[in-house]
């Protein structure tokens, strides 16, 4: 990195949270700290929701995923607009008008204290794990680029993030998110322009798109129904809708965003802004990854993108043979890509078919050679499961991007990490304080006391996130790891909110035991079936609802009385 890169990166990291703290200044109450005093406009909430969801992982892992697996991951987000519309007619007005701090507070008004506590604890487990992984992602950036220690990097990012979140609360988090999303959009556009401008002479944008598509890297839609396939149109529309309903309807890190709105109308607009913008944004990020793949058709990539893994195998017997195999496979693919590009431009159908087949065979060849390298590394380490997807984009950026742009891309990734982590930390503090501490330990404290405890709780969760981040290494593609963890818990939250919103005869104990039955069903699916994890969201929520309805038939609890003053 040049001095210019350092300047851009440090300026962005310091200036953006400072702007957030300044813009969100003023309030000294718990309501201001956790809900911004309900003063936020729709565009700030909308960008903040987007920023909280788009972590550094989105940029690091998603681009790498497109390089390896193509663009089919975009289907994962197809459920989001559907979920947003459903939530705009249910959760948004219900939570808003209930005047709650957290989504789980509403569950006590509707059911009972144990259902509120269980939901809150589920959220703390899931989000507590995710915030650690989100902090680890930028540590990868630094370990690849600067050779910094992963742990030190996670600690530094964590401290900056905890400082402005603890000091400013959700107003600072939201306004910081707004600026961070603007920088992120700018960085993404610049990244795509740079990738395309780096293509060799004779390879136009259309050629690049064609070459990516010929080996299945532009496979955005897969219409074949297969429950074992993680990403297809049906798992995206059905499983994705259920996952997003659980995430935006039952995850406090998102609910808290739209609870800060000036009005129900403003909160709905913020959700619908996401519904319109999120899928194109993910498509765009994946497309950048596909273009990186095309770039490496004409510039030799490393056999393994993780530098430490490459160093580890270079001293091993058999390395030369594997590297030679990879070099030869890459040269063969480069020639095949050039031949296909030339055949396409000459517009000769016969030659085009043959050139396409040769190009696809060469792609299979280089994938096989890379697998040999991976196998050699796994043999040295003594365990399987190596995955360097998260290093692909960063390795490319630092090697080929011009000065200044590298700094901006790194700033984008670090800002994304901080924006998602800060929102999560604030919501973890809200649930810890409002749903557990105030409800079960200290119900009679002053507002000043709860504000102080909220700040302390934010700092404690920040410390936890940094510690958890140390164990996130070698978890495969990080974005998948987070979504997999979510699919074990979100269905329970979704199921219990479906019972709360739509089935007014269901009582607290029935909902509580329904949630436990749902978790048992998900664990059984994970242990004993090959079903892809996105479907856990459908199965888990379905079991919670059905079991809740059945338990309510056999139970004799009195009907719940929904009253705003019942809960703390």
């Amino acid at each position: 990195m040049t001095t210019l890169d350092w300047f851009v990166m440090v300026a962005a990291i310091i200036a953006i949270p400072s702007f957030g703290l300044w813009r969100g200044r003023g309030g000294k109450t718990t309501s201001h700290y956790l809900l911004a005093g309900k003063t936020m406009p729709w565009y700030a909430m909308g960008l903040s929701i987007m920023a909280t969801q788009a972590s550094a992982i989105t940029f690091i892992a998603t681009t790498g995923q497109a390089y390896v697996d193509g663009m089919r991951f975009v289907q994962f987000y197809f459920g989001l607009p559907i979920a947003m519309v459903i939530l705009c007619t249910t959760a948004v007005p219900i939570f808003h008008k209930a005047g709650v701090y957290t989504a789980y507070e509403y569950l006590e008004r509707r059911f009972d204290a144990k259902t509120r506590a269980l939901s809150g604890i589920i959220f703390l487990i899931e989000r507590g794990a995710a915030v650690g992984i989100a902090l680890y992602a930028p540590a990868i950036v630094m370990s690849v680029i600067l050779g910094w220690n992963d742990r030190v990097t996670a600690l530094i990012i964590g401290i900056i993030c905890v400082l402005y979140t603890t000091m400013g609360g959700i107003p600072a988090v939201t306004w910081t998110d707004v600026l961070q999303m603007i920088i992120i959009f700018a960085g993404l556009i610049l990244a795509l322009i740079t990738v395309i401008s780096l293509m060799p002479h004779g390879v136009s944008f259309t050629d690049a798109v064609y070459l990516a598509g010929a080996v299945g890297k532009l496979n955005a839609i897969d219409t074949k129904f297969d429950p074992d396939n993680r990403y297809n149109l049906w798992s995206g529309l059905l499983g994705g809708t259920f996952l997003m309903l659980g995430y935006f309807g039952g995850d406090q890190s998102q609910v808290q965003r739209y609870l800060t709105g000036k009005s129900v109308e403003q909160s709905k607009l913020s959700m619908l802004f996401n519904a319109v913008a999120k899928v194109p944004m993910q498509f765009f990020i994946l497309f950048v990854g596909a273009m990186v793949f095309v770039f490496y058709l004409f510039a030799q990539p490393p056999m393994l993108f993780e530098k430490t893994a490459m160093k580890a195998i270079q001293t091993q017997p058999g390395y030369s043979a594997v590297q030679n195999e990879f070099d030869a496979a890459w040269q063969k693919r480069e020639k095949a890509a050039e031949a296909l590009n030339a055949a396409r431009k000459r517009d000769e159908p016969g030659n085009l078919q043959a050139a396409t087949e040769a190009y696809r065979a060469a792609q299979r060849g280089i994938e096989g050679a890379r697998k040999s390298g991976v196998a050699l590394y796994e043999k040295t380490q003594g365990h399987a499961g190596f995955n360097d997807t998260n290093y692909i984009f960063l390795s490319f950026v630092t090697r080929y991007f011009p000065a200044g742009v590298i700094g901006l891309v790194i700033a984008v990734i670090l800002n994304a990490a901080m924006s998602s982590s800060s929102g999560e930390l604030n919501s973890l503090a809200a649930v810890s304080v409002m749903d557990l501490y105030r409800r079960f330990w200290q119900p009679d404290g002053s507002d000043r006391h709860y504000l102080m405890v909220s700040r302390m709780s934010t700092a404690v969760w920040g410390a936890w996130a940094v510690v958890f981040a140390q164990y996130a290494k070698n978890r495969g593609s990080l974005v998948e790891a987070i979504n997999q963890v979510g699919s074990f818990f979100y269905p329970l939250l979704l199921g219990v909110f479906i019972l709360a919103f739509f089935f007014k005869n269901v009582r607290g104990s029935a909902a509580f035991w329904g949630m436990l039955a749902g978790e048992a069903a998900i664990v059984a699916c994970a242990l004993f079936t090959p079903i892809a994890y996105l479907w856990y969201n459908v199965i888990g929520a379905f079991v919670v609802v059905v079991a809740g309805l059945l338990f309510s038939l056999v139970g004799n609890e009195p009907p719940a009385v929904i009253h705003p003053a019942k809960a703390a």
Binding site: V74, F78, P81, I82, M84, V85, C88, T89, T90, P93, I94, H96, K97, A98, V209, Y210, A212, G213, A214, G216, L218, N219, A220, I221, D222, T223, L233, S263, V264, E265, K268, L269, L272, A275, V276, V279, P280, F283, F501, F502, F503, K504, N505, V506, L549, S552, L553
Partner: protein, 47 residues
């Protein structure tokens, strides 16, 4: 078991555009359908 939508769920304020919230929801879902159709055409064309 009776399935009911809570009273809070009914819209009180109109949206700033498209006159009703129903129209806004139809627009959002139509946008999703359009994106899927475009992505499908994109996938087929370049495969």
């Amino acid at each position: 078991m009776k399935f009911t939508l809570p009273p809070e769920a009914y819209d009180a304020e109109p949206p700033p555009v498209l006159r009703t919230w129903r129209n806004v929801y139809i627009f959002v879902l139509g946008w999703l359908a359009l994106l899927i159709a475009v992505f499908y055409a994109f996938t087929r064309y370049f495969a």
